[in-house]
Amino acid sequence: MARNPDALSKYPKIQEWAAKFYEVKAWQMSNTPPDPAESDPLAGRRVTARSEIDKIALGKTLLSGSRRAFASAKAALARKVATISDAATFDEVDGEIAKLAVDVAAQTEIASARIISEQSMQQVQAKFDSVRKSLDEGGYVYLQAKLSDVMALHREAESKSDYDTAQDGAAAFIMKAAQAEAFGDFYSKWRQDTLAFTEMAVPDVQKATALGNRSTCKAAANAETRQGKFTEAQAELVKFAKQAPIVEADFQDARPYFAKVKEFENEHRVTFSVVASSDVKDANKLKRGYKAARKLGDVDHKYVEAIAAIDVLLLFVTANYDLAVEINKYDKMMLRNEPYRNAKRDAEARIKAGDPAGAAQLLRDFAEDAGNTAAIDACNIRVSERALSREYDALSAILTGTEKSALDDAWTDLGAARSQNPPDYATAKPHYDKIVDMTNLSEIISLMAEIRPVRGKYPAADGYGFLNSYQTSRSAGRFAEALQHLKPVVPKVKALAGYLDVLAFANQVLSKLPGGSALAAGLTTEITQAEVKARGGNPDGAQTDLDAVLTGTDYAELAEQQRDYEIRYDALKKRQNRALRLMIINEAKTPLVTALTSIRSLGSSGAYDEALLQMHAHGHRIEEALAYAAAHKQAKMVIDALKRAVAQDPTREAVIFAGGPSKSDLESDYGKAEAKAKSGDYDQARADFDALILVSKTMIDACAQAYEDADAVGSNAGHSLKRHGDHVSDDALILRLKDGSAPGGGHSPTSASSKFKSRADWLAGREAAAEMAMQAGIDINETELDPGNQPTPHDYEIDHGKPIDEAFVGVSKQAKFDPNTGEFGTTEYYDTYEKMSDLTRSYVLFVWEYEKIDGATPEDNADYISKYTAKNGAAPAKIAGRWVMMQQYPVAEGWDDELKAYVK
């Protein structure tokens, strides 16, 4: 879903007012307002003007940037009204006030329309998400295009009428999506039923005809859905059952059976397994029963009888499930215990009498009877190895100090006592109890993790004393008790986060108020009272009180300015940090860092208006810096890649550098562009780096091909360019998803078929990974390794900092039916796919390729040594081979195509 737009960038009126209030403030103002009692002929106009300003309400629907720009304009105009002394200027200010009122009203109307439109977009996205997986290829393509159109209407809207149009588009989309959904439901069942029926009920000699008809119907439906004609598409699918060799009546008879099988697998498989694996009477017949029922349907085609047989099994499962859960708590040794045997026998009788709830209750009564405690404890101790070992492993990995040694000791002692023959239950019992008590630490640690950020951010939080009782119990090793103390105070400590945020904010506002003023004194009192309430155990109430004060008339404007500034500053800093991370020379970072520091100083001194405008301008500068940083990184990686190619094989120099600039020219141009970056001229530096890539195109193409060709020699590697190069068509990418046919040849199914926009990006990605490998101690130029150094594949994810790609990502896989097992499944190919663009990361995998020995490729060092020794009669001094790039493709996983960002 789209983020809230920046009001200053999106709406020209807001930009105008943000600049205007600056202008208004700069008007010449008298230092001493006239005395209204004696000599102010404009007193009446001042009252009226002030009243008009006050009438201009800034609603909460406005974006924060709009509110801030308008609020500052109101404040500036009010100051002007209080101080101007000539009627002509007053006329001008009245005009400004009237204009402001009109613009605020218009912007408020736009804001309301934007919010309604935004809600519509959320409904549109939710509807698409709920429908997408059931559609065929045409339906998916059609609906995704419609979704994209509607989202664009909303994204590009500026006026109320634009937002209204977007909302109308959303309503139309929802209607169309409902048709698509109905079709999708039909299609989902159709594709499974037709496949299953063909496999099970059509004679082998006629299967090819039936499957051919099925493909024809599917293709015809696809042509209709591609145009949004879902009713017509359904009519095409229906034709399948009306053509020989399908007998429509038989097909329709079989469909309820397929639905029942699907229902069983999707909804009852887990409960069925619980009962089938239990010691409940007759449960051991369940698996055989299901197999027989499936044979009735799959082989004998007696669908009605098969459904009835499955229903009988499900009735048994439903009746016995609760009892099975209770019985599964015990091991088989419990059958030697008479009270348990009696309880189990009585429970089974209750099941027979149609009272499943009563049956399970009998087992629970058995567990609660104090007379059975010893037997149950013994059982728990016997099964503790399998029942508690994972929890023990996890706790043991987390705990430290005395708690860890107490847990480890108890576990060791429990194991020793349990291993006695017969088990020494008396010795084991206290250790078992200790471990069970300590398992409460899992929940304790999890709860503490929830409140740790509060305690980290506000060390003062502990001083409120909410955790004292919990800490006392835990220190004493009473963990169940500690948990009981902790649970109720976690919400309070979490509430402290909100309160302490507001408290810090209130103190910031206080620091901006004139010392000794009534406003400062008032706020100090409110803060003191809130503290008393928070320490009394009500941080929520304290936060509400302080919020009310800060949003009240006395402090609202200052608080709004402060809050807006902090939000904008944090967002700006995050974007700047991304730009700084991408930059490869420190000198280029300085202008950004200096400017943001200056903005921080403005904010800290309370000059929020100036800070707002400077942050807006700085945002544009960061965009320029990001574009520069990406271009610089690309240029550096490309030049390094050219050098590496020649270093690996000097004969490449003549091929690669034919027809392009020389190495020294390239380095000279690179140096000049870098100098511009150092002086902070990001735009020009970016243009120069881009130009450098442009003039190097033939060299880049030759170099990329040289790497690809070298990787491919005697190896499964060397297919990245073929499959992901800029020359690959969309159709070829899609075909790979649909049947595994890889661009450039070969069979290679994939979940995402993608390509680079340019070979420069491809080459830069390869080199960036090679340099990351070098930093990790792997030199990909190596051709021999020490025998004791077993190499493993090395993978890297490269952030290019700019769009490098487009991709088609598989959405729903093609259906398959296994006639041998009677199970529905999916193939490794896709029916539908989603188009994505502007991805910014690539994935690179380097693998050590062993030198072949007598035509065979060794699997690892040991295999190499064995083969080498067999051939040469002596062990090798070195392992010969080379690093090849096995994979490089743009990363689509986690990409949100609407936000154009990685979100996972």
């Binding site: 994972r390 955790l467 499964n716 994939t750 995402a752 090395h794």
Partner: protein, 127 residues
Amino acid sequence: MRMHRDMIRKYTRKLTQGAGASAPDPMSDLSRFDLDILGVQRAAEADGNTDWLRLSLDALITDPTGRINIFAGQGYPFSDAQLVELFTYAFHKIWPDAMLSEPGNELVMEFERMTDEEWADQIDSSM
């Protein structure tokens, strides 16, 4: 417990997008994944995360429904059953003496997106 999904994915990616997965029919011979598995083991050891990797694989193998596909990665379109098979193979290669949990006895894990700092909080046992 809440598990750092992307931390585990960093290791499983070496399996699902590694050299073994680059073969035309990767599941036909799982020994192709052996060096990828060694890479996983080394990376987890270097990070001090072998316990978490073992418990996570155990939980995913024992209770894969609706979540193991989060770890399929980008590349060969593994089915859930294939991921269970691959992760099971890797589990036994890395920990030959360890047993997988019986269904219901695995550690209850929720694989969630979190930052490294949030994960550090998850495994901080201090008071």
